[in-house]
Point group: C2
Chain length 465, copies 2
């Protein structure tokens, strides 16, 4: 064993660009200490960690040392670790600590984190945890859970600072100093009317720079305020935060009363999720895939592979219609995968651009037809380029000019088709409210495969036999 | 023409889930007014817009009305619009307004935005704009540009509030009130020692809630502070902000002196870019692709399609080695695309999971071998499932049991290979400091194509002839 008295840096410049990932030596050191039963050493190392580092450590340990670590951490367990854990690992914590202890950890969290955690539980667990929460926290969490998933109501925090517009800077500061029940951290004050409807936002920096006699009215920036409804979709929330460079936004209920605030750090998580989501959806993999056991991952991926299988069997069926042609010219079998693959790849490039443009709302009626026209042109340009290259390759390889020409024609056809289908399929799916990130890829490659084989073998049957 | 006196809402609930995209009616209304020369109406509509909406409008207009709009907006042009514009559209603004006017707009921006804008210009333009900036702004921008691209130095803002730890809350508030040259907006105070090295962070909410006599020392939260070096990669910056839920971080130079701050809103842009980047890179398309002209887009995509072409020609070459076998059993030509496509799709799922896990640093030495083993198991499970299905299909279709068995064996082989190559290729590329998002896909599909065809046709040659 190495010298355990030397503290290993938790995150450190060990691995070039991975300078700030959890230090593997630190992880190994903790594992070794756990195995050797040096409990005090482990507690010293782990209880002083930032909650995010502690969560990373717990996530990365193998199951057995993880369970031992959780037992050791139990007396001083920092509740802020919980929201940072992977879902499956969090379930292990619940199992190990029991409902009562888990509930008392949840009760210490901010309302948005508490709602998030309770929401992740399955129904039976949720009832058990809720039953063990103090009445006040339980009510807040139940109200939060009453909002549909992925809405502003779920995302928001109840804790906020609301003040009337007629207060002066001095009165406001005195109020903040005197009032211990305010949230621990806040970035702006929400100015409300007598019916508790948000009127504007006062930035703390503006408050601090103004004389005590100034009325808040004069400091309100309306431009900064975008009022969000509890039912607003979280994607819209994230979009508005980015669009308007917002820091903290008021959330109102159906009657327009201020009921919560959403802050930029919640939105960062949503942005992360959404971007990850689109990328993982395009490859048809789930977000929990890294930590899930092999059988459940295999089961989840099987659906998409089954679609691929149907797609390729359809393509094989098209090929089989040209059996007689293939028997006469075996060169066709050798060359045919090229047309399909080129069309599929070109089309997926277009689909990716469209999925991103739809997600970031860069695609509007002002530029839609321009984008479609452009992609057709790109398809035609690249079709011609690769038709020339590939036609020459086929001619030199098999010594048949007519084979080269047929291959070139099929290539141009499939590349233009890829440009058209690559734009129209995502747009149509979006209109039909089907997620293009999820469905556009399979549709596209089915058409480029089927039409690629059909165009090439069909033209060959007409002109080469 | 519709009733132009009724104000069209700029963003509104017109399109279901696209409720907050720029309202197409508003855009059309502006275009119509531009065409009819109703300049005052257009100015009324546009000059009151939020800068982000104005930028969206300018981006979405066709070229001719856009130029007319830019002329109309010129007297009161809000410089904050510039960083929000698409790169190509911003170049049009520069062309239209000229270097001197563009420079005076840049001079009004915060230092980080100004550096970003000047950096986007080509070399000749940059020199012209810099030459027309006031000396002070020019120096700040040149210092910013001296930092390598994608580093904290480029991202940071020079404007910040730094105070000594021995000050009281009262002294600090008096200083903030008296000092007009401070940045317009800030979220935290940086506490510095006499050599201007950051010692900690004081949140404005903590400052506001403490009595005037409290010393800043007592309010400093060290946990909140992560000191970043000017040379730190922006991906690391973004990672630390998310990991630690940071709001505003001090940036220091090589000697440890505080030289700037990075705030969460800059980081949101980086997160966006990086996530978009990985997704677009995996499909080998550029981020400016939506607005770029067809020829330049076609040119950019051609490289990746050329790689696809080489890949498929290599696969065709492998197929051609089995020409004699294909001539005897044409069913092989019909079925062979299935094995390659299934392996390619399964492998790309693994690659996507790995690329995300590497980007979010969820993959550490503690779980690496577990992940590889798991993907091999997933490949084996799904290989067996699809081998059974496909073997049966082939047997029923062509009435040959041996053909079904050969197809099944090739399928299992290629699916397991996909699991192995899907994990090892991204990991190896990351070790070699080659971006896996960019290179893993082409490598993977080349191997699944080549080995898929080779396994199927090879086994067929051995056992079916």
């Amino acid at each position: 064993m190495s010298d355990h008295e030397t503290l290993k840096p938790v995150r450190g410049p060990l691995h070039g660009e991975d300078a700030f990932a959890l230090n593997p030596e630190f992880v190994q050191d903790v594992v070794a200490a756990l195995e050797e039963g040096r409990d005090d050493y482990v507690r010293d190392q782990v209880l002083t960690l930032h909650y995010a580092d502690a969560a990373d450590l717990i996530d990365q340990l193998p199951r057995e040392p993880r369970e031992r670590l959780l037992d050791l951490m139990r007396p001083g367990f920092n509740p802020e670790i919980l929201p940072e854990l992977d879902d499956r690992i969090r379930d292990e914590v619940l199992e190990r600590y029991g409902y009562a202890d888990f509930a008392s950890l949840v009760a210490e969290l901010d309302s948005d984190d508490a709602v998030y955690l309770v929401d992740q539980l399955d129904e039976a667990e949720r009832a058990h945890v809720l039953a063990r929460l103090p009445a006040e926290e339980r009510t807040v969490i139940e109200q939060g859970l009453a909002f549909p998933e992925y809405t502003a109501g779920r995302l928001m925090q109840r804790e906020l600072v609301a003040v009337p517009a007629y207060w002066t800077v001095g009165e406001t500061i005195d109020y903040l100093r005197a009032n211990a029940s305010l949230p621990e951290d806040f970035y702006v004050l929400f100015v409300v009317d007598p019916r508790h409807r948000p009127q504007g936002i006062v930035r703390l920096s503006a408050l601090l720079r103004s004389p005590r006699a100034t009325r808040l009215q004069g400091l309100v920036t309306e431009e900064d305020m975008v009022v969000m409804n509890v039912t607003m979709d979280q994607e819209e929330v994230a979009y508005l935060f980015r669009q308007r460079d917002l820091l903290s936004s008021p959330v109102v209920d159906a009657s327009g009363r201020l009921v919560g605030r959403i802050t930029i750090d919640d939105v960062v998580d949503v942005i992360d999720e959404e971007a990850e989501d689109d990328m993982l959806k395009m490859a048809k993999v789930g977000e929990a895939d890294l930590y899930a056991p092999a059988f459940s991952t295999a089961g989840r991926r099987i659906r998409w592979l089954a679609i691929t299988l149907l797609n390729t069997i359809l393509a094989s069926f098209v090929i089989s219609r040209f059996e007689a042609t293939l028997e006469q010219i075996v060169a066709l079998a050798i060359l045919m995968p090229i047309v399909a693959a080129m069309g599929g790849n070109a089309g997926m490039q277009v689909v990716t651009v469209m999925v991103r443009a739809l997600a970031t709302k860069e695609l509007g009626p002002g530029n839609m037809s321009r984008v479609i026209g452009k992609e057709l042109a790109v398809g035609a340009i690249n079709g011609v380029v690769f038709a020339a290259v590939l036609g020459t390759v086929a001619f030199l390889w098999f010594g048949r000019l007519d084979l080269g020409i047929v291959l070139s024609a099929a290539m141009i056809f499939n590349m233009v088709w890829a440009g058209m289908a690559g734009t129209l399929i995502p747009l149509t799916l979006a209109k039909m409210k089907i997620d293009p990130a999820l469905a556009a890829g399979p549709f596209l490659t089915t058409t480029t495969d089927v039409l690629g084989f059909f165009a090439f073998l069909g033209l060959a049957t007409l002109f080469l036999i």
